[in-house]
């Protein structure tokens, strides 16, 4: 192993006239000497541990959301839940709604040719998909009749 591959874990090789074979940093009374490979290896380990921690935080968060939903079924929903629920209940607008309005945006529900998707909730009320999605991210209830939209 050549000396230029050796790196101190504490960046002590900053002085250009450092000619020692092993770049070392002094931490209190202990000498810490790391080769480049050791250093990279430890970085990988740290990375792995950080990833494990992130995934456990995600799991705890998911659990908390699930508990919160039991506690308050009408509370906010997460994006994935809303999207997968609406996917099964959407269809393109057909243009025979006889002037019905989407109560969220107050635009016509069925406007042929605008490419807008319509969602029919379990209670039968209809909304534009982007309109009702925004609302369900805040509250799991039909704006018109307050029925629980996405069942537990």
């Amino acid at each position: 192993m050549s000396s230029d591959q050796e790196i101190s874990a504490y960046g002590a090789s900053s002085s250009p006239d450092d000619t020692s074979n092993n770049t070392s940093a002094i931490l209190g009374r202990a000498y810490v000497t790391l080769t480049h490979e050791d250093f990279v290896d430890r970085l990988h380990q740290l990375d792995q541990r950080a990833e494990e921690m992130r995934s456990s935080i995600r799991r705890v968060n998911e659990m908390l959301t699930a508990v919160a939903r039991l506690w308050n079924p009408h509370g906010r929903l997460c994006d994935a839940t809303v999207s997968s629920y609406l996917e099964t209940r959407s269809r393109p607008s057909c243009g025979d709604g006889e002037g019905a309005l989407c109560v969220v945006c107050h635009d016509e529900l069925h406007c042929p040719g605008d490419g807008m998707m319509i969602a029919t909730l379990g209670c039968g009320h209809e909304y534009h998909v982007p309109c009702i999605k925004q609302w369900l991210l805040r509250k799991n209830a039909c704006p018109l009749c307050r029925t629980l939209t996405v069942p537990l």
Partner: protein, 157 residues
Amino acid sequence: MQASRARLFKEYKEVQREKVADPDIQLVCDDSNIFKWTALIKGPSETPYDGGVFQLAFSVPEQYPLQPPQVRFLTKIFHPNVHFKTGEICLDILKNAWSPAWTLQSVCRAIIALMAHPEPDSPLNCDSGNLLRSGDIRGYQSMARMYTRLAAMPKKG
């Protein structure tokens, strides 16, 4: 922002169209700011607010209609669910029971309904709430009527 503006513009057109339909509510948008509205509502009959005209101030958030508008009384009113000094209104649909299906016009209707049916158990005006809770209907009515005369009726010249 764009969505709230578009929706308020729709409501503005609806208000213009239905002006005659509801003579108890007169809803006006600020000339320069579509997020600021005022309303004049008539006190409901057979209540101590009968004969008075009350002014409401609406401040609409950018997240409207996902968030409720902020509404308060500009006219002084003696009512258990209205703060006597600030005019703040305690009404569930303006807080956690809000739904985007409400409009500024229907919020006005809800406030008129609240004037006719006070909820003394969630008071913002404790004096008024205590009168009703202790069963002193007459005391509450005479106080409310007095403030209606003082603040919500044209001065007799």
